[in-house]
Symmetry: D2
Subunit: 139 residues, 4 copies
Amino acid sequence: MVDGNGTLIKRIFENAPFVRSLGIELVSFGTGWCETSLKVTSVLKQQHGLVHAGVLMTLADHSCGGAAATTASDEQDVITVETKVAFLRPAPVSVLLCRAQVLRAGRRLVFTEAEVFTEEKIVVSKVSSTLAFVALKSS
Amino acid sequence: MVDGNGTLIKRIFENAPFVRSLGIELVSFGTGWCETSLKVTSVLKQQHGLVHAGVLMTLADHSCGGAAATTASDEQDVITVETKVAFLRPAPVSVLLCRAQVLRAGRRLVFTEAEVFTEEKIVVSKVSSTLAFVALKSS
Amino acid sequence: MVDGNGTLIKRIFENAPFVRSLGIELVSFGTGWCETSLKVTSVLKQQHGLVHAGVLMTLADHSCGGAAATTASDEQDVITVETKVAFLRPAPVSVLLCRAQVLRAGRRLVFTEAEVFTEEKIVVSKVSSTLAFVALKSS
Amino acid sequence: MVDGNGTLIKRIFENAPFVRSLGIELVSFGTGWCETSLKVTSVLKQQHGLVHAGVLMTLADHSCGGAAATTASDEQDVITVETKVAFLRPAPVSVLLCRAQVLRAGRRLVFTEAEVFTEEKIVVSKVSSTLAFVALKSS
């Protein structure tokens, strides 16, 4: 059964210390997608005063994981297999939004993509990511 | 002239707040390569108690930038165009090392790759990244 | 001036022997996009009787080049820097269509993406590709 | 049991019409790697008289599949999940060689990489590819 009430995706966002430390928030989700946001603070910058690529990748990766999680069964969890990120434009230090969606959920693999964009809908990064379903560990 | 004394790579590591906040250190470098390390702390974990993919991507991206910087001229800086990361194995919460090297430095683009590995030389991630030379801004 | 009348994209499809030998056709295009098709023949198969991944990649790569070409100036040509292809589903031996579009055309680099799909609109591959503008050689 | 005598890899190269039509040859292999070659003919060119990116991707993809196949059990076959190719340099119309190797073979996924290079050992493309083990179909 697909995780209709979002237990897994909520847990993924609540229980990840690194994601919480950056300030990444789960905004909304449905089967096959999720939206997230991040209010960029000064510590998330790189040497030119822009948002560090690692921050953009973290936001996108976790959002892709969230989207994939909405297609998992009650006994499954998701892990990232690989990801590719294209940095279309420099990302300003402001609020960043991300929408991730599932392109195809197979039996063992989930293909996803994501966009990171500003509040003015300027896309700064485009992401293509493959995840795998794994057995959920009770914790 | 290639940046033989490493002014650019040193500045890239010193002046990036996000990289410093994670604890990423520049260990050594030469023309076309650099090595970095990160002592993983508890806040860098994801929901399963492993190192977050975003941490691995940040470490690799910044190291690729460092390697590329060693091939820049005195008037150039580097920015990441795109990156792909394969997550070969879960990364344990311990010391992680990264070696990045330039595959080819052209006139405008730099192709790099990187490995993230444990102190026991177990490779956890393999990275392929393209960067671009841009004009250095005085700051 | 952007190549409004499609001189470059037409030449890219007419003058590429490999693309012609596979049977790839330019169907339509506008500024920032193009659509192509390929009637898959028996020789384009791999060992399981499906379309070879290399055929899908060739179709997508050339289409991304076409889309990028529509944003080139009269003095520019385009070359592929790197590409990533996700194989969402096996591709049947039938007619395949591809739509490529530019995500961002900068001064020196063009970010594109493409989908390869069947006549029933089933997406079989999703592609993310970076190209570079280079000086057009007279030939 | 790992496929020590290379039944699967040999079949992958013999039974793929597209690969045979290009002239790609299996040169040698062992557990976790294979080497291939391609004598580039005129039909494999793109519009600038260089080797088409699709040819390089086909050579690399099939070689990664071959390397992965050497780590499959007798009941397994391999399929490509995704691949990323960096085009470091233009590839001349001559003999091209490819070496593909397994970075990690898991229970369900195989991470590979490959280099395409000239007889003078100039690397023209670097490839990172993920494959999956699937059940072998009798044919």
